[in-house]
Symmetry: C2
Subunit: 456 residues, 2 copies
């Protein structure tokens, strides 16, 4: 179904998206602090222009949270929308075909860091509000929207914010658009997300870098030792080797595996899409199950010694790895981090000083795939796309799903408007402009469907 937005609105909405994308609101790096603040101000400005009320920028212990609402009638359902204006770092910069913070349209896609994760997606909600208020003068639900600035660093200040503003944020359902559709033109409803633990491992050998000729073979080499440790994190069957890792990990249910099996997923198609010869899923699971519903451990970064051109015969003093785990219900991220740290220390020879730094820890999240809120969202998809959405879990983490469930007791709907090939967290991130326009219309349908649901 084509978007029925007017050309005038399309042009103006796309300009507003570009304005957001020009702000390098990288949350993990303190160098971008001022840009984060500019990001929050721009969100607040666009909330006001959409017609939201009570718009306010709330300071937190970290980056600010922007809030706005439109309260029609206490008898209507109340929907709380969550999004984030912060983005991942853009490096490696040299791999971008256009600068990450100069949004560029090519082949119907808008390229910029944050395009699909999550500026393009949360903006669909603001523009749905804008359209509904302009065309109908009101909304079918009471709407509360909060857009935060620390999603990419684990949302450390959301739980305190929810606790402090419990009354203000009171709602019947939480809606988030920060995931991907199952396939172009085929939305999915996500009923589970993996948790995350993220660590930095530092191995220190000698006091300083040494000449590898003079000392090699006698002095312990942290790059060698780190490799040996990392090699023992996961075996060739995709099984994580950290002792106790699977103890609390709940396997997929029989009905889930049947639902997954009914999808047209093929390992070969995903392998081809990302440019590898073959996937390496966990034994006994296909690629879709492995990447969404099975826990894993990954090396996210490596640095040691000489990495420039040519040769430098150095025996490095230091080696560093970034290592993360993706978790499934009911693995506890804090416990998994402790298991990982203990295992690393057990593997590390006593010739090395070894430090494991805990950077991030977020629990997994799961809900009933047949919850009434998901049924309402499915109705919205049927109304707009004329087809049944796919119900699957997703492999990424939205750290605050657990907070909303725990602190506010809210059921959640994850209705993604992006696609998984849009290079989120990678160079050349993009968002299909058509899906931006369609996303705005789909969100209007979602508000209507939630309004009509008897039970939420």
């Amino acid at each position: 179904m084509p978007s029925n937005l007017s050309e005038e609105r399309k042009i103006s909405y796309l300009e507003d998206l570009k304005t957001l994308l020009r702000i390098p609101s990288v949350s993990t790096d303190p160098a971008f602090k001022a840009d984060i603040l500019r990001g929050a101000q721009e969100v607040s400005k666009q909330m006001l222009s959409a017609g939201l009320q009570n718009v306010e920028i709330f300071e937190t212990a970290g980056h600010p949270i922007v809030y706005g609402d439109y309260l029609v009638d206490p008898s209507l359902h109340t929907v709380l929308v969550y999004g984030h204006y912060d983005v991942q770092p853009a490096d490696p910069l040299e791999l971008w075909h256009s600068p990450p913070f100069e949004p560029t349209i090519r082949d119907g896609m808008i390229f910029a860091r944050g395009a699909t994760d999550d500026k393009g997606q949360f903006l669909c909600h603001l523009k749905a509000v804008d359209g509904l208020l302009k065309d109908e003068g009101t909304l079918p639900v009471n709407l509360k929207i909060m857009i935060e600035g620390e999603e990419e660093v684990g949302s450390p200040n959301i739980a305190p914010f929810l606790a402090e503003h419990k009354e203000r944020l009171k709602a019947d359902v939480l809606v988030i658009s920060d995931t991907a559709m199952y396939a172009p033109g085929h939305p999915s409803l996500i009923y589970g997300l993996r948790g995350l633990t993220y660590h930095q491992i530092d191995l220190q050998g000698a006091d300083g870098d040494l000449h590898s000729g003079y000392f090699g073979g006698a002095v312990p080499n942290p790059a060698d030792e780190l490799s040996k440790i990392l090699a023992q994190l996961r075996d060739s069957h995709g099984k994580v080797l950290i002792p106790g890792f699977y103890d609390e990990a709940e396997d997929m249910t029989v009905s889930e595996r049947q639902a997954y099996a009914s999808l047209d997923f093929k390992n070969e198609t995903l392998a081809q899409a990302v440019g590898v010869n073959r996937l390496n899923p966990e034994d006994g699971y296909n690629g879709l199950e492995s990447r969404t519903a099975r826990p894993t451990v990954e090396v996210n970064g490596l640095l040691s010694g000489y990495t420039g051109k040519g040769a430098k015969t150095v025996l490095p003093a230091h080696a560093m790895a970034k290592v993360s785990c993706r978790l499934v219900p009911h693995q506890d991220p804090v416990k998994i981090s402790q298991l990982l740290e203990a295992y690393i220390h057990e593997l590390c020879p006593d010739s090395m000083k070894c430090q494991v730094t805990h950077i991030q820890a977020n629990p997994p999240w799961i809900t009933d795939p047949n919850h009434p809120t998901l049924e309402a969202a499915a109705q919205a998809v049927r109304n707009f796309y004329g087809k049944e959405p796919v119900r699957v879990r997703e492999g990424g983490s939205i750290p605050i799903m657990d907070d909303f469930q725990r602190v506010l007791g809210l059921p959640g709907v994850l209705l993604g408007l992006g696609l998984s090939d849009e290079n989120l967290h990678a160079p050349n991130e993009h968002f299909r402009v058509e899906n931006f326009y369609k996303g705005i219309e789909l969100i209007k349908e979602l508000y209507r469907a939630l309004a009509q649901a008897t039970e939420l």
Copy 2:
């Protein structure tokens, strides 16, 4: 024995060393091409000021070679001196306590990249010539000095240069000062050097970096796979696991091991000196044997994914390692490189594109520890230091020793003036100023002793 250089000469010689050290003549990085040329010009200038004749800068296919000589009488022995004015890269820059190319004196040491490797050492020869010509009006031998600019990148143009200038370079013995003394005040004569092969390993997984949440557990991770490969290069007993690696490796002789055993070497002392809890020498060998007379493989560098502050949940597309082997007689570096490459490809799973780039390959070198040239050098050490030099092998590589032996048929003397704790190839490289002055006097003694040797 204190140096008997006049204060005036000390000051002037040290200034000349500083001038050399201010030039960032890094040979491996094309960005320093102009500095390499400035380095060659400064060496040529200092040769002329020392009184050398026929001074000339010879172009090569790479960086130039500077030559000068002083030919007294055809009936005297002819000594060929070799050194290098190029240096290793200075990074990581942030670990230097003073800038690498602003020579700084602290605690009786001069700190700068190249201070001990090899600018401070070859300059002792130029200053010995300067002193002898000023004080005695002549030299006890015919002297030829060549200082090259590509030692740190494997001296690819020395063999052709030797072949082309065979007549000009004709000599009875080769002298090189580019190694370390055994201990402060206790020079060593090096009769063996390890060879070197240096490689870059590149593993490519997906076409681009991916979100580790969306794809982790299903898409092969090159940082994981690289770690698994590197972990299989050397076992926990210090044995290299590359098939065929030891086939041509000659073990130390019984008399060599006895000579090594008679030295006061202790693993604990070396461990303490470099700041590690313990060494990890090859099983059956102590640290001195392992670092000088046993072959090994080392990881010199690692790079993959995100290496900045905080967390970036990326599944890297690419992972890189620099890997080198140190070789002993009679391992063939080209063959060893081929064995390494074949082994890497064998270990690499078919989910990765794997490339092994050969960067450097130099043969090991060994000579008779009792050769007449070493006896003459020992006499010089006795004359100046009043003690017997230690005769050992060294673990580094001087790529051209094999070229001089093969092309010119020259026996070699390696009389080092540095110390192994002077951070060569590492941050805060330095050279003891006292050893610079003493080195100049010791070299004069060496020329005299070589002049008196009946057979060379």
